[in-house]
């Protein structure tokens, strides 16, 4: 297990996103109102870059004429064919059992804890007074 420091917590505002590259793999980190989550920046359907997608909600219905609008801000649509993915689980809404994009845990960690290592942070300078986003791979 390797820990990668990818950003300071201030860098991604609520509703924001950032693409980071870990071991040649692009991962998009999202701030869901204080919860940080990561998904692989590649749609499993045909490879569209999910970071360009629009974030929306789960719009479901129990019967014609009735609508549930749930979890706004937590569902992303692929910029190409419009597949829906749950940002928290990586699961697709279209075919949840079969189609899923890989998701990553993003931990908020204090710089004082990180300086003890081990971690990788090629482009980020870590100081003890800051809070960081750390992805485990």
């Amino acid at each position: 297990m390797t820990r990668h420091v990818v950003a300071t917590i201030d860098e991604i505002k609520p509703g924001g996103r950032k693409v980071v590259t870990i071991d040649d793999r692009e991962i998009v980190i999202f701030n869901l109102n204080g919860d940080y989550v990561g998904i692989l920046n590649r749609c499993p359907h045909q490879g569209g870059k999910l970071c360009d997608g629009v974030v929306t909600a789960l719009i479901t219905s129990n019967e014609p004429g009735q609508i549930n609008y749930a979890r706004p801000g937590e569902i992303i649509r692929c910029p190409w064919h419009g597949w829906f993915f749950d940002l928290r689980s990586g699961q697709s809404w279209g075919e949840p059992d079969r189609i899923k994009t890989r998701n990553y845990n993003v931990a908020v960690t204090g710089g004082n804890e990180l300086v003890e290592g081990p971690y990788q942070a090629e482009t980020i300078e870590v100081t003890t007074d800051q809070q960081y986003l750390v992805v485990e791979t």
Binding site: Q46, G47, D52, V54, P79, W80, H81
Partner: protein, 369 residues
């Protein structure tokens, strides 16, 4: 908006594809509607400013069915310099032609489609303008791209004039119609267009969409965009049946038709049904001497996007075999939202030869490049 087309990434992709490919459906766009004005006379510029182009379906604010994505496009396809997706040649090269190793891209401009204009004189002026625009801004600067002669197709006489103007110009690969015409396409009013195409040995591409003035499904106006998307199959079945049964191919035995962006899995079932009825109705259509399936097999090609994606993938392969692997032409539909990626889109494994046919040879045969 992030722009993800580094040169290194593009080279890596092109190497993965290996083969130089043909793309039967690329959509160039005007950066804004007024970008066509340099190719229109002042009379028509004034007309467009004052009245606009009244389409045959009568809704003036845009397509009758809003698309699945803004401007029907991939959200990553907006050119960095601004303008509509598909309006920048340099960005099309960087995002599509180079990384996907496209050696032959067929342009199918859609907006405006001259044939959609209710005013036939405007329709003819727009046709000439769109053809000039393609030549000046796309075809002369980029030899990998070949254009479509766009005729004002609801006016056959004007269409023949327009086709004669451009036929023989090596920058143009085909004549472009949209599928939803005012009347079923096999009817006599369209025959002069077929005659001109046959005389010049130019294939006729029929791209899904368009506004002929009829509802977008045979049952009327549906409620949802998804119904419009699925409706292309029925629309293309109707136009193909019309062309075959009216005797278009008996009369123009060298005519080549390419159906673009309507899917293809529906074709075998249509030919089975046509053949079944033809055997019993020879008295109604005595001019049709051969089973419809045979006529279609000889005269019709189809582009593959948007490809059907059945759960059991071999069903797609069966369909492929029934249609014939020499009849299917790969297409991406770049930059539209339902784009088929040349590396990822094909849900079945093809051997080298059918693969070469799909990605290059069939296009070279039908377009003559």
């Amino acid at each position: 908006m992030n722009i993800h087309v580094s040169e290194a990434e593009a080279k890596k992709r092109a190497a993965r594809i290996g083969l130089a490919i043909a793309d039967g459906d690329v959509h160039p766009a005007l950066p804004k509607p007024q970008a066509i004005y340099p190719y229109l006379s002042q009379r028509w510029r004034d007309h467009m400013d004052t009245y606009g182009m009244i389409p045959r379906h009568q809704y003036q604010a845009g397509p009758a069915y809003p698309k699945g994505n803004p401007d029907a496009s991939r959200r990553d396809s907006y050119p960095p310099e601004g303008g509509r997706p598909g309006s920048s040649l340099s960005f099309m090269r960087a995002q599509h032609l180079d990384p996907n190793n496209v050696e032959l891209g067929i342009l199918n401009p859609l907006a405006p489609t001259p044939g959609n204009a209710q005013n036939l004189e405007l329709s003819a002026a727009l046709a000439t303008a769109m053809n000039q625009w393609q030549l000046a801004e796309w075809l002369e600067p980029e030899p990998r791209l070949k254009g479509s002669i766009m005729p004002p197709y609801e006016d056959a006489a004007a269409s023949v004039e327009e086709i004669n103007k451009w036929a023989g110009n090596p920058h143009f690969a085909q004549i472009l119609l949209l599928s939803r015409t005012a009347e079923p396409l096999g009817q006599r009013r369209y025959w002069p267009i077929f005659e001109a195409a046959a005389n010049h040995n130019l294939p006729i591409a029929i791209h899904a969409f368009g506004y002929g003035g009829n509802p977008v499904t045979s049952g009327g106006w549906p409620s949802f965009y998804i119904e419009e998307m699925c409706g292309h199959a029925q629309c293309c079945q109707a136009l193909l049946a019309s062309m075959v049964l009216e005797g278009v191919f008996e009369h123009f035995p060298t005519l080549k038709i390419i159906l673009v962006e309507a899917g293809f899995a529906w074709l075998p079932a249509l030919t089975w049904r046509l053949d079944k009825h033809w055997a019993k109705f020879k008295g109604e259509i005595p001019h049709l001497k051969r089973p419809p399936s045979e006529v279609i097999r000889e005269h019709v090609w189809l582009t593959t996007q948007p490809m059907e994606e059945p759960d059991i993938r071999r069903h797609l392969k069966d369909t492929w075999d029934w249609i014939g692997d020499d009849r299917l032409i790969f297409a991406t539909d770049y930059p539209h939202w339902d784009y088929d990626d040349p590396i990822e889109a094909l849900p079945i494994r093809l051997d080298d030869e059918p693969r070469r046919k799909l990605f290059r040879e069939n296009a070279r045969t039908v377009y003559g490049f």
